[in-house]
Symmetry: C2
């Protein structure tokens, strides 16, 4: 296989682990420490850039944000942006991967061993809404990108379609038209996210009082109410839907480090 | 009833009907023709500005668009923008009114006399999706604004909530939690709009072939499939949902002139 280029220095590492079988140059202890510190700093810079871009792009969309705004918000020199990302499109792609793929994979890992498709869907919906409650920027980014991009071909969407089909196959769900059921569920999650962001406990503009009491918002149990209704949409009977949507929730691991 | 204001000249008409009680100047036939022509030109200019702003804002959002881009696209002098709108926010507000309020009212007018809440909801969903199919810009604007703004307090959303509550009251729908049912239906409509725009017959990026056949898209009957599933979500039995979602559709009147 390919061997690593001679003279690779920390600043040229591009976020990939060294390939197996690569020749390692002999190095003194001092060099190892320096390399470790450089790699850590590199990771931190990358995380700061991603963080700043997430906030700005959640607010204004990719087109509304310039690279120098990202580097200023991240407190990083303009030029070093390009040590981490080739372009604005590249950092945007890294963010959509984080939000749509990484989060879907974290859900999968948290739900390893759960076999009931109803429980998988309810837990996924609740985790998504609790995450939105803790991290409004994340939710705004997801909302902004969700309906405008390739919803059907991305991690979060594909996993949902897979879980619905599994439930139909197992006789747990009733849905004559799986694509349409997926569409309804995906849309429901997004509408729930939007309601949580707009009318939840940390909302900018609370609902008018008469509407507040009519719809019962904000509601601490909102994620469970949403999950119950989505199971009902899939034909799960009322009492069973309420029970499954209130089962103990396995903890979701912290978001994966975005450094590498 | 109202008589026209003294000395009102076409260029000063600001899109509001003249106040009641104002005096009308005696005018020769030539003046009447000139006034009519001026008013028509004014209306056309306003419509061109709205049209251009809708396209630009559907694409980039209000923040991503400058007034001079709107006037250039509309082929109108920069200054005359202000004869029609006070600000960028004002033209954006006019557009959201058109899309969220006017369309909801047109649906109401088309459905006058229909009493079955299932038929009302199915027809509204189908009209919305057929409109999106004919007018991609309209759909993109609606999608962009829907989840990011006050979904629950706007015409289109409020009408849907009203129709769901009517159906629950009449025993036609089963939903234990009306707000959540609304949320799911609203989200389903938006997801359907997004699918129509992304994967419909006029889509930019067709689905990969394997997914295409798996989900059956694009589909000429997509609006009917979507409406069927939404009725199923509300507890309408399968055969009945299919029947109601395929009833003859009353024609929707052309969008109201945006001139005044």
């Amino acid at each position: 296989m390919a061997t690593r280029a001679q003279g690779t220095t920390p600043t040229r590492v591009r976020g990939h682990p060294p390939r197996a079988g690569a020749a390692v140059p002999a190095a003194g202890a001092g060099e190892v420490v320096r390399e470790a510190r450089g790699a850590r700093r590199r990771r931190e810079t990358r995380a700061r850039l991603l963080d700043a871009a997430l906030k700005l792009m959640a607010d204004r969309g990719m087109d509304g944000v310039a690279i120098n705004e990202i580097t200023e918000a991240a407190d990083v020199g303009f030029g070093s942006f390009y040590n981490h990302f080739e372009s604005k499109e590249a950092i945007h792609r890294a963010l959509t991967d984080l939000v749509f793929e990484e989060f879907a994979n974290a859900l999968d890992r948290a739900l390893t061993g759960v076999t009931d498709p109803a429980e998988i869907i309810a837990a996924s919906v609740r985790h998504t809404l609790y995450r939105a409650r803790r991290d409004r920027t994340w939710a705004l980014f997801l909302l902004r990108e969700s309906l405008s991009s390739r919803m059907l071909t991305r991690g979060l969407g594909l996993h949902l379609l897979r879980d619905i089909e599994k439930g139909i196959g197992a006789g747990r769900f009733k849905a004559e038209d799986p694509l349409m059921a997926f569409m309804g569920l995906a849309g429901s999650v997004l509408a729930a996210l939007s309601i949580e962001v707009q009318y939840g406990e940390a909302a900018d503009t609370p609902l008018p009082p008469e509407l507040r009491s009519a719809v019962g918002l904000p509601s601490p149990e909102f994620p469970e109410r949403a999950a119950t209704t989505m199971l009902r949409f899939l034909g799960v009977p009322p009492a069973e839907a309420r029970r499954v949507a209130r089962m103990p929730l396995a903890e979701l691991e912290a978001p994966r480090a975005t450094g590498d």
